[in-house]
Symmetry: C2
Subunit: 413 residues, 2 copies
């Protein structure tokens, strides 16, 4: 190989714009929940594009779309892709850009080099956002890695009250075929995704190569005191959970700041009962989202938060319970795949940095069955999960060129 | 007069139990919103009871019920009563007990002594709780004191979206007659009410005589930052309104504790947007309820809270606005009426204390047009605004005997 492998920016823009029509929301948004009519149309479009570029295409029993071209020498597959569903509403880049990248990269390679030595596959995951069902927990990649429990098609229930199995049947999928979705023949999985944070933009870099996906815990903390009249009950005889909640929030946020990057702790969800202006609350329920990619530091961060919750509640004479509703281990990228991506970026002359992902991704599930890594591209203002998220075609193309170069090395050399 | 004037506890219990049937909710609750069918039935019952004890009864243009017996010597009226509406749900004592007390006291006086020298009236206010319309702000007593603005029948809108004028018409009231409700011929107004706090119970007293109703402010504080991904946005580059809200809450609660009794500050209402577990919030809106019965200390308390809000928001780089949505001056009881109530309690041999009211009451509105004071009776565990609120018949009767004795002095002597 003597010439740089480059995708056509017009092709990237075409796929991205066309995909954004399915579930378009306002001027720049997307509202495309798993197993919705918009989602069905988008996954059909992805299959059609796969066929147009010479791949065989199919939807598996979970609703993931696979486009495949066999390798002359056989072996396990080199796979790339991301998820097709969106937040409610989300933007046109989160997930979709990784599907577009996969299509553009494989199209470029097949057009220029013909069939690969090893099987090469485009993957469009059915679901990643938990935007229709709270506890899907990466439905598409869990199906592929055989991590969906036997009763989950009934117990995973949507915000509309519909079990996911019923939603699957409504679009012609048979939940009983889920076990057949599992794949044990994937060698490498690479996902291109928007950063969703501000680091690349702040450093003026188009591309990041992800060495680890952060570990996270979601706690649901419930503080129970006693509701009283806001005027008639003296302060010193109250059992008010609100100041206890405030003190816990202050402490966990300060702790994460003190641990320093990349520790993050967020309180984004809170419910106050009875939520009246003139009544001391009975109960405050809030969630703590705490993350760190280092397995040891992560444990220290979580332990400190748990001590704070217990100590503050006891001091305020407030009953407290907490439970962990999500607990994801950090997922470390494969060093060989990371090295291949770095070589690809250097070959392409594209500036990059190594970084971790603060967000969760299907890649962390795929890591159970394959060598993985991710490519990040710059997010304007670090925004995501909003119609305002934006990545320029220039930055997208630089990331896709790194992907394409790496796929060449993995599937063709 | 040589014998003590005492009401029949069986009469008190009868009225209380019968009134609790209108809008009964569960075993001990009441759900009786102004201008509802339950409310109409309750106000009709009150009128019927008034007629049974020899009063003329009428509903005014606001829906207040008046039962009146003229005085042999004429002059301005001696009035007693409370409100008939409830929280959603509330208990059977808050408001209703003051109507029951008025009926039992006047019945006892008329039965024993015949017509008074001065006009004596039972009053059942239409509305006090703001439980159907957020901004009624004492609809019944505002009508009586001529304090309802000309467009409020359209601008005061219920939680169900119905303007109060429409709700009035639905029960046969003509909003155009509201100005005619104003009374300028009330000499004295006394309201008996449950304490809604724990002080009488803690001190083992059945009765309190209220020397002032606290001043209060309700602030709506809006903190606006920037929503970001909880994993991908480093802590040190966030504009997160949550820790700012937590710090403000901690400070205002601590300040009220440091001011000492009777200062109270409560945060009972909060809304987080977008309220997602894994997103830094955009915006937090919460209410601060701050009260003090001393006009000067009250201003210092409010000023300190306002400085805190501004200072914390600025330090966190969070946009902040606040507005005062309720601002009630403290209402001081008439010293002569308080003295009469004290004499009545001493004559009856009923232990009492002087105290302020931390809750707002129609009495503070009536103070604009009449000499006022209130009688509190003990609340079990200080509870109110809940079906669990409770006052024993014994404590209620002791309070009503003080009322009856005082009304005798005011209307008969």
């Amino acid at each position: 190989m003597t010439e740089r492998i480059e995708v056509d920016p017009a092709v990237v823009e075409h796929y991205l714009t066309a995909l954004a029509q399915f579930g378009a929301y306002g001027e720049t948004g997307i509202w495309r929940l798993v197993y919705s009519p918009e989602w069905v149309a988008a996954q059909e479009q992805v299959q059609q594009w796969c066929r147009e570029i010479g791949l065989t295409a199919r939807m598996d029993g979970a609703g993931n779309v696979w486009g495949r071209i066999d390798g002359a020498e056989g072996g396990k597959s080199i796979v790339t892709g991301s998820h097709i569903d969106s937040q409610a509403p989300g933007g046109r880049f989160d997930g979709a850009l990784g599907v577009v990248a996969a299509l553009a990269a494989v199209r470029t390679l097949v057009e220029r080099f013909g069939p690969p030595k090893r099987p090469l596959e485009v993957l469009s995951f059915c679901e990643e956002e938990s935007s229709r069902f709270a506890s899907t927990n990466f439905w598409g990649s869990r199906a592929i890695t055989g991590a969906i429990g036997p009763d989950e098609t009934e117990t995973v229930v949507g915000f509309d009250g519909i079990p996911i199995g019923e939603a699957m049947r409504a679009v012609g999928l048979d939940p009983d075929t889920l076990p057949g979705v599992e794949r044990d023949d994937i060698d490498t999985f690479i996902e291109l995704h928007i950063e969703q944070g501000p680091i690349l933009e702040q450093e003026g870099l188009p591309v990041g190569i992800v060495t680890a996906i952060t570990g996270l815990r979601h706690y649901v903390v419930e503080l129970t005191g006693r509701s009283d009249h806001a005027g008639a009950r003296p302060m010193d005889t109250r059992r008010d959970p609100m100041p206890a909640a405030a003190e816990i929030i202050t402490d966990v946020v300060t702790t994460a700041l003190r641990f320093g990057r990349p520790a993050v702790t967020t309180i984004g969800n809170m419910r106050v009962e009875p939520n009246l202006p003139a009544a001391v609350p009975d109960k405050i329920t809030f969630m703590i989202d705490a993350r760190h990619p280092d397995p040891e530091v992560r444990q220290r961060l979580f332990a400190k938060h748990e001590r704070t919750i217990a100590e503050v509640a006891a001091r305020h004479d407030i009953d407290v319970t907490w439970r962990v509703v999500a607990d994801h281990d950090p997922a470390v990228s494969d060093p060989g795949v990371v090295a291949t991506l770095e070589e690809a970026a250097r070959t392409q002359g594209i500036p990059y940095r190594l970084m971790h992902s603060g967000a969760g991704h299907d890649t962390q599930r795929m890591a159970k069955k394959a060598k993985v890594a991710m490519i990040f591209v710059q997010s304007k203002d670090g925004r995501s999960h909003t119609p305002a998220e934006f990545t320029s075609i220039d930055h997208a193309v630089q990331g896709i060129n790194v992907l394409t170069e790496a796929l060449y090395r993995l599937a063709y050399e």
